[in-house]
Symmetry: C2
Subunit: 313 residues, 2 copies
DNA sequence: CCTTTCAATCGTTTTAGCCTATGGAACTGC
DNA sequence: GCAGTTCCATAGGCTAAAACGATTGAAAGG
């Protein structure tokens, strides 16, 4: 059974006339007749009484007509739905690592809502490796994660470079030391994210570069937990500058380390082969302009001014 | 868009793999790929992210998948419904003229219900010309009407020949006359069916053959009305023997006319070109055996015995 | 009875779907 | 890394099926 046959069938049923049905379908009458006969043969029922003047539905024909209309309506709906781009490609799946998700995404999503009201953004917060798997499996449209990313199937667009800062409680001895070097951290207990966290990896590598293993006292799932522990002086940590928020000032001190600054770079990851949906494009466009504006409004501020002020406290 | 393409599409969506989808559809992978591409081109959307390992639905693809499933389900339903002969061809439209419908059809339908419980019989009671039109237009499967029928497109199968009897009220003078000839009727007022009735036509022709016009005092739509008028002595009528019922005996007298007996013949009418449905066949078979049994059980009874008895009352 | 209408049939042409073969990209395992 | 494998797209030839044009034959209508 093919749709063409169904279309022919409905045309005959409605015109009660093979010739006029053929005209309506823009084919010759023999072609249409043949297809109707084929259809009848396949389904094992005659659908029309070929009376002298008109073609009248048999009972089987009447039964099939209902179904046929339903099928064609389904086809019609599908076509219309797909051509109605209002509905389509307005839902995207965005992934982000935990040190990015709570800080970048909320304002960004808000901005997207203003500029593209129909755009629906679904967020998945996960570690880098899981996000990468998600993209490779086609589950995510794009992801915000830290570099390095080596997968060759991924397109990597760096969007943001920021220093990693030492975080200590306001009462902590390191809060007052004029210069803090990497080596000094070897004597302290760290509060870090889980082992899958790319930030944790990076911190461990950083420590390794300075010839010590960090002593990890707390493994947390959330940044907020890390901050709370550090705020009570139970440990120290290293966080990207972007994780700093106003609320932290009462309990936490963020400090640059002397020597070579550890940094992290955040990038947008996409699948090279994946078709880029309109919604994803819109999200990206918003992301880029938002970052550009932010850089223009407070150039380097997040890397210097506020950090430099800390030691004075 | 064709069903084949939709089937291919669903297969790919479900296997997430063009090659395996092709196997499932029993075609080669290039054939299937090409059809998917055609479909995507026609509808203006890519339906799959062709990632390295698997093919993942795009949003448009996911949207279309729902519709596609619905369409295929519709096709499936249609096929199943048509192959389920329990449902089909169990509804027939039967026409009958007023002088036949109330007498032949009820017992016949009851018998059909016993023998073919799924058979649904819809009855249309109408005059002969309208029934013939109904058959020619394909609205009726068959009709029971009186002869003659001249339309060459109709198959005519006579099933029953019966005399036309004079009907008078029990108090009417003609009820007691030893011999009633046609000529005598010229002096009386007739109660007849409407002008479209074939019986009325026949009666008028019969009177014409005996060189008089019947004086028609009442034109009724129903036999019962005619009988009631005649029972009150307000007129006389001529009815087929089959219209006589037990209940009439108290008020009516049925008499043969002397001389050449007027008769009428009832036949089953069908459209030669019309496909004969199973239900119609069953109805006909039941009709024939029922009539045969009736003739066997009371041979000639309805033409002689009961009629002959009447004058004695 | 003649004309018109209509569906089916026949023979031919065209189309389009299918197949085989191939290429290229990407993943896998050594 | 580097072969081997998997997977989809492309190209070209082939065939089956759909379309066409012409015709026939039956039926309807005037």
């Amino acid at each position: 059974m093919e749709l063409q046959q169904i279309r022919y069938f409905v045309a005959v049923a409605e015109t009660q006339n093979f010739t006029r049905a053929a005209e309506r379908c823009s084919v010759t009458q023999p072609s249409l007749s043949q297809q109707i006969i084929n259809l009848e043969k396949e389904l094992g029922h005659k659908f029309f009484h070929r009376l002298g003047r008109k073609a009248v539905l048999t009972e089987a024909g009447a039964t099939f007509l209902q179904r046929a209309r339903q099928i064609l309506a389904g086809v019609d709906d599908a076509t219309r739905e797909l051509s109605d781009s209002q509905v389509l490609e307005r839902r995207i799946q965005v992934g982000a690592i935990p040190t990015v998700a709570p800080y970048l995404l909320p304002p960004l999503i808000q901005r997207c809502r203003e500029e593209f009201p129909q755009l629906t953004i679904e967020v998945r917060e996960d570690f880098r490796s899981d996000l990468i798997r998600g993209i490779l499996d086609g589950e995510l449209d794009l992801a915000l994660a830290s570099l390095p990313v080596k997968e060759p199937q991924l397109s990597v667009e760096p969007i943001l470079k920021e220093p990693l800062l030492l975080v200590v409680g306001r009462q902590h001895p390191l809060a007052r030391t004029p210069q803090v070097t990497a080596k000094q951290l070897a004597d302290h207990t760290f509060a870090l994210l889980g082992n899958s966290s790319s930030l944790t990896h990076q911190i461990q590598r950083f420590c390794g570069d300075h010839d010590f293993e960090p002593r990890i006292g707390y493994r947390c799932a959330q940044i907020a937990t890390v901050k709370a522990l550090v705020g009570l002086g139970l440990g120290i940590s290293i966080l990207p500058q972007g994780c700093r928020s106003k609320d932290d000032d009462s309990a936490l001190v963020y400090r640059r380390l002397s020597g070579r600054q550890p940094e992290r770079e955040v990038a947008v990851l996409r699948h090279i082969q994946r078709y880029q949906s309109r919604g994803a494009e819109q999200f990206l466009r918003t992301l880029r302009t938002w970052l550009a504006e932010r850089d223009r409004d407070e150039p380097e501020s997040r890397e210097n001014a506020r950090v430099a002020a800390n030691p004075k406290d």
